[in-house]
């Protein structure tokens, strides 16, 4: 049976090493027994076509061999829901960050579009690959060693209450976008040359090297703390995308971050000079008056930001204080 030899050879190639000969011998015996039964019924040897039909009925060699394999999937039903959940969240965060950072790369609009498109795809495949590999490893460990790698580690008492306050994911995502946008803008400033002009004027600061005004030294000292607070806020957004039920953590941390901004605003407002006339410019009365006006405008803007921070802190902490008040009231009633 030349076809049988070919068939067994094809099955053998796809079998797990170490068991090939044993399994092939058993399949050989099974097919031979079937062929002999058929020949006994017909009273003659099988034709080549009948032999082919018998092997076809036995099944595709690769499929037959695959049934002797161990794990047939990368990520099984136990991990699949966690895999999709993780992939959705990590992809959302990674794509937002990749979009804004790639959009800020220098170049014309078409070049930027190319950067963004390329960055989005490469980020998608990178994140998809990493998350898949991590879950495939977890699946392998669970199957190979029978160890619970976290799925069983949950407690019904720690599940979020039905009426528990949640931070809306849409809110976390929109705040993350804003924070990343501001950070990219701050970080892409030409720090070593005129970072402070860039901080206040944006890309327009690239041109006016003969700008007649000069920002006070204090601006150089506050830029890094400002960036650090935005980074912290972005990290908090990422945490809340994963755990929207960590409402209290968000409230306290967000209030603390805004308190940080408030402190920076206070330092700026306490500084005697925020904008002066540049040492290289002629100190005319006209320029001095303009610098004074700019200084006043800057103070009003900083004051407005400080007021916004105060409102945000109030909005963050108010629900927690009200909740505590209700709890105390209910304890007294009981």
């Amino acid at each position: 049976m030349e076809l049988l030899d070919r068939y067994l050879n094809a099955v053998k190639k796809a079998l797990p090493k170490g068991q090939q000969d044993d399994i092939v011998a058993e399949i050989y015996d099974s097919i031979q027994s079937q062929a002999e039964d058929k020949e006994a019924q017909l009273g003659r040897s099988l034709t080549r076509d009948e032999e082919a039909a018998l092997l076809k009925a036995y099944g595709n060699p690769r499929l037959v061999a695959s049934r002797y394999g161990g794990q047939q999937y990368l990520i099984g039903p136990t991990f699949l829901p966690f895999y999709w959940y993780t992939l959705r969240i990590v992809l959302t965060i990674a794509l937002i960050v990749a979009f804004f950072f790639s959009a800020m790369l220098p170049g014309g609009p078409l070049l930027s579009l190319g950067h963004v498109w390329g960055a989005l795809w490469s980020t998608f495949f990178l994140v998809f690959g990493i998350v898949t590999v991590v879950f495939a490893v977890l699946e392998y460990i669970q199957r190979r060693f029978g160890r619970d790698v976290g799925v069983g580690a949950w407690d019904p008492r720690k599940l979020p209450a039905v009426n528990q306050r949640l931070v809306a994911r849409s809110q976390s995502i929109s705040e993350l976008i804003t924070n990343v946008l501001v950070m990219v803008w701050l970080l892409s400033s030409p720090w070593t040359r005129h970072a402070l002009f860039y901080l206040t004027l944006g890309p327009a600061a690239n041109e006016p090297f003969n700008w007649p005004f000069h920002l006070g030294l204090i601006w150089q000292q506050i830029i890094m703390p400002v960036i650090a607070l935005f980074v912290l806020d972005a990290l908090l957004n990422c945490v809340n995308i994963v755990r929207p039920d960590w409402f209290a953590l968000r409230a306290y941390l967000h209030a603390a971050i805004n308190a940080g901004f408030l402190a920076i605003a206070a330092v700026l407002l306490a500084t005697p000079t925020l904008v002066t006339v540049s040492p290289i410019a002629h100190h005319t009365a006209h320029l001095l008056a303009a610098a004074g006006s700019l200084d006043t405008i800057a103070r009003w803007l900083i004051g407005s930001c400080a007021a916004v921070c105060l409102i945000v802190i109030y909005c963050d902490l108010r629900p927690l204080f009200r909740e505590r008040k209700h709890l105390k009231a209910s304890e007294v009633t009981c």
């Binding site: 058993e26 015996d29 037959v64």
Partner: protein, 110 residues
Amino acid sequence: MGTDTFENLRLELRRGCLTVAVLAHLRSEHYGYTLRKALADQGLDIDEGTLYPLLRRLESQGLLRSEWREENKRNKRFYRLSPHGAQILDQLLGEWRRINASLDRILEEA
């Protein structure tokens, strides 16, 4: 759609039953081909692609023992229930009878 649903449920229902049937049949020694024929004679058709991997899995779990022996001038692998397999089979049959009795009661009430 309806046929697919039935087929999926039927396969699910059969999967566990086949294991019990194979273990029960192997209280006496068989090799793969005669076991398959014996099961088919009793109304339980099972294709080779399912039976042989199942036999290996049951053997790797210690429920079956096997040995290669020559019969009719050909080497054949004979399977038989192990002592551990016999214990498990008893437990499975007990469970099977309980499920069957419960189903009977549910169907009588319905």
